[in-house]
């Protein structure tokens, strides 16, 4: 992720009052989570597992904090139990920013069989978990997608996922 995308996301999170950002570091979004870590506006939390990351976000969100969870497709897979509970059962408003590993344009060097698995699984997984999502792959629409995702997340009181790809991520 380049600095232009990072800057837009950081600014928009601030505008939306999202001041708690939770992650388990992964390479494509590292520039974003590092920028958040360096910015005193945010409380940046690193979790040891994505499942407890989603539960952590849910506790904070239902307690009134505005939260974002930064992860990748593998992280969504790992956290699927927690997402089923904190989404469908308990309706916790968590904005999920996930690198869309395996989408067209991912030249990161991960074996093709893994990329294909991510591509085949990511969107059906979010569908099965009833997590509304959008693929965000144009810088020109990044800010608006973040604003709309943040609003929908609060309005639905439910996790929302933005799958970052294309020129936004690579």
């Amino acid at each position: 992720m380049d600095q232009q995308s990072v800057q837009v996301i950081v600014e928009t999170l601030k505008e939306q009052g999202i001041d708690l950002v939770v992650t388990l570091p992964e390479e494509p979004t590292y520039a974003l989570t590092e920028a958040v870590r360096q910015d005193s506006f945010f409380t940046a939390v690193t979790v040891a597992g994505e499942g407890n990351g989603i539960a952590f976000c849910a506790g904070a969100a239902l307690g009134g904090r505005r939260v974002a969870f930064v992860t990748g497709v593998a992280g969504l897979l790992v956290s699927s139990w927690a997402l089923s509970q904190m989404g469908m059962v308990y309706g916790a408003p968590i904005l999920i920013l996930a690198s869309y590993r395996g989408d067209f344009g991912d030249h990161s060097g991960i074996p093709g069989s893994q990329l294909l698995m991510f591509k085949q699984v990511a969107e059906p997984l979010l569908g099965a978990l009833r997590v509304p999502y959008r693929v965000v792959n144009q810088k020109a629409t990044l800010k608006r997608m973040l604003q709309e995702g943040s609003f929908a997340c609060q309005d639905y009181s439910h996790p929302i996922a933005l799958l970052l790809s294309g020129e936004v991520l690579w």
């Binding site: 009052g17 708690l20 409380t43 939390v45 690193t46 979790v47 040891a48 597992g49 499942g51 407890n52 990351g53 539960a55 952590f56 976000c57 849910a58 506790g59 904070a60 969100a61 239902l62 307690g63 009134g64 904090r65 505005r66 139990w81 927690a82 509970q85 904190m86 059962v89 308990y90 309706g91």
Partner: protein, 194 residues
Amino acid sequence: MKRFDCLKLLAPMVDEHMLAVTSLSTNAPFWYNVRPEGPNFFALNMGLCLPFALGLTMAFPRRKVISIDSDGSLMNDSSSLITVADVNPGNLVAFVFDNSSYAFMGSTFTARRTDLAKMAQGAGIAKSGTVRTLEEFSAAAKQAMESTGPHFIVAKVEPDAGRVAADRSRTSGRPMREWFMDAVHRHPDYQVRR
């Protein structure tokens, strides 16, 4: 030592503004019986109780948040101990009621070699320990409620002989969530972020 007896001792130490989260096991109906009102979130299982409570500490930094977990649930995602240690919230008091059994379905790993308090210490939660009698439980809980944490207390209890009745609309699912949110919205520390 019986779980219900421990919770009866704990409840009077929890004021109306403290928040509590329980696992799905008998912790939920037992806790409902001793603290039916206030900001309680019940019945999170398979590793979700402790990290959910940790999240609440970020929303209510001036209040104690009590996690009432069980051994089987915590062991489902023990990496949350590492997250707790790293976040290091002074207002978290985490209890694990360890009956060393999966309800009536046989023993858990704590009946053999696993020591949850040592795991917590190894994760970096310095104030971790195990209690085996009601006197020890009462003293540890009192000390934890009156001092800066995070605290992690493993209470070794007998397998529960039976269940107590609890209103399901208050202790599970969406209806419970709405009761919890109502208590949160009325909490003096709650801040609407719009």
